[in-house]
């Protein structure tokens, strides 16, 4: 039994008070970005109406209030992922910036010639290209872990790719294309035994499953606010304090300094050392409010509910002979993402046709071209769920799918 009513919860999200093509909006592109509840929208408004100032820069009331609110938001993020202290929480713009920060600061400092960096073939471009850059600049080697036919990383692949030469492993907790939840606990254990650090791309996992960075023992964990009900332009980098302390700054300038001389400067302590320039304070406030909202529902409840939705959808889809599903069949290994193709129909056309039924899905390579090449697929369509989706949304989605081929002149 669920302890929340998705139908009622949906009413918190004003975006659903509209129709698309004369039908209720059914939003199944949550892997790309999520919608905002009134609680988040109103909290940002309240901040702007009462407390907006530049934090850490003034002794006047507004600056003091903005500082308090900003730090308070950081405190919420800390508890949300169970970091040890707010010194380990750095605000960025998004997952991409967090990964770049790690690559440029940690990677360029500590990766040396012939060292190996290991990632999975299923990574998002933002967890590939920064490592290509580090590998090229440092003459290091970028290695890939490949997937089995159900989109999982086999244990022997982990053992053969992560070796004593490995200095860094960077891996998505959940694949944004296949929905696979990767065995990051095993990957982290293996990497640590061999002295490598592990970066976890939590863009798709943090919004949907309970994340405990200490329990996982991740060295770095990164995610984006906009995929978890918060605004765009606010992201998080978690890093273990002892690692962050030894890393050089990434961006430099105001707010990240201690003393500045004509030719030299000393840097502020954590986490400010990595937060150069005026930050996205209202984004941080919005993220804090989104975390409150998610916690009021409960991450375990959200995960359970999304599993129910995926199972409900998969059972219906598997009955349709011309629809092909990517990713694991075992529900315990996947999150609320279904990538699929339809015989004879390009995913672009699927997306356009479903849109006319009011159903928003994404089509394309999902910023994972190496994976698509590996799967030998030019593109897929992807439906991704969140807590405000309902059984009826899925019924409408399936109804749309059943009509797709007809529009292109194929009998069903």
């Amino acid at each position: 039994m669920l302890n929340f009513d998705p139908e009622k919860l949906k009413k918190d999200f004003p975006i659903f008070n509209q129709e698309i093509n004369g039908r209720p909006l059914i939003y199944l592109d949550n892997g790309a970005t999520t919608q905002k509840p009134n609680q988040v929208i109103n909290e940002i408004r309240r901040y702007n109406e009462t407390s907006h100032g530049n934090p850490h820069r003034g002794a006047h009331q507004l600056s003091i209030r903005a500082t308090e609110e900003y730090d308070n938001a950081k405190e919420k993020v800390k508890s949300f992922i169970n970091a040890k202290s707010i010194e380990e929480i750095i605000f960025t713009r998004n997952t991409t910036e967090s990964l770049n920060l790690i690559a440029y600061s940690y990677g360029m400092e500590f990766i040396k010639e012939n060292d190996e960096i290991v990632i999975a073939i299923s990574e998002h471009h933002s967890n590939i290209i920064p490592w290509q850059k580090v590998a090229k600049d440092k003459n290091a080697i970028l290695k890939y872990m490949y997937l089995d036919e159900e989109g999982r990383i086999p244990i022997d692949e982990i053992e053969s790719k992560i070796t004593s030469k490995t200095k860094l492993v960077s891996i998505a907790h959940m694949s944004n294309v296949l929905g696979t939840i990767h065995p990051i606990r095993e990957i982290i254990e293996r990497a640590h035994e061999l002295g490598a650090v592990v970066v976890v791309d939590g863009a798709q996992s943090t919004p949907h499953i309970k994340v405990d960075v200490q329990d996982l023992n991740a060295d770095f964990y990164v995610f984006s606010g906009h995929k978890m009900l918060a605004p765009m332009g606010i992201g998080v980098l978690y890093g273990k304090k002892e690692l962050l302390e030894n890393m050089p700054p990434f961006l430099t300038g105001g707010d990240m300094i201690e003393y500045v001389y004509e030719q030299d400067a000393t840097f502020a302590p954590l986490p400010f050392k990595f937060e150069a320039g005026t930050q996205n304070v209202e984004g941080a406030i919005g993220l804090g409010a989104a975390i409150d909202y998610l916690q009021s529902v409960g991450l375990n409840e959200i995960e359970k509910y999304e599993k129910f939705l995926v199972e409900y959808a998969l059972n219906k889809i598997l009955d349709i002979p011309y629809v092909n599903i990517q990713g694991p069949k075992d529900l315990s290994m996947r999150g609320g993402i279904i990538s699929f193709t339809i015989d004879d129909v390009h995913p672009h056309d699927i997306s356009t046709i479903l849109d006319s039924y009011g159903v928003a899905v994404r089509a394309g390579h999902h910023c994972a071209q190496p994976l698509m090449r590996y799967l030998e697929l030019p593109a897929t369509a992807r439906a991704s769920f969140y807590l405000y989706n309902t059984k009826e949304d899925i019924d409408q989605f399936i109804e749309g799918i059943k009509n797709v081929r007809k529009w292109l002149g194929y009998g069903s």
Binding site: H346, H348, H365, L408
Partner: protein, 140 residues
């Protein structure tokens, strides 16, 4: 948006028929065009005789709009001079941008005129213009 105005009979036929989807032997020009954001990926092949496009074909993958648009374009440019083909490119792009609306002027575009409505669907414009941009790259 009305799907009927996008997925017309003609587009379906061109998408399915594949009469222009083949490899030419010894093409004089091979030009690849793709829309990285969505996965349309075509290679246009031309056989030239002096200034005349003697034969044309394409290979690759893509959505119904990109495939049909390519096929219709090939029907149109075969036997034309390079300059005539380039003129058609400008006409087609003008139609999509809604800069050219005169029926008489658009007549020269043959079947391709059915793609006129795609301008109401910004997400799919790239699919329709892919082959035309590729042709322009190939011959200029």
């Amino acid at each position: 948006m009305d799907l009927n105005s996008i997925y017309t009979q003609l587009i379906m036929e061109h998408n399915k028929s594949g009469h222009n989807k083949r490899a030419l032997c010894n093409p004089d020009v091979c030009e690849r065009g793709h829309n990285p954001s969505c996965g349309d990926d075509i290679t246009l092949e031309l056989k030239l005789n002096g200034n005349i496009i003697e034969d044309a074909s394409f290979e690759g993958v893509g959505c119904a709009i990109s495939q049909a648009s390519t096929s219709m374009m090939i029907d149109l440019i075969k036997g034309k001079t390079v300059d005539e083909a380039l003129e058609m490119v400008e006409k087609f792009l003008g139609m999509i941008k809604k800069e050219i609306t005169d029926e008489k002027e658009l007549e020269k575009l043959g079947d391709s005129i059915v793609l006129q409505n795609i301008s109401n669907m910004p997400a799919r414009v790239k699919c329709a213009v892919l082959s035309w941009h590729t042709l322009k790259e190939a011959v200029s």
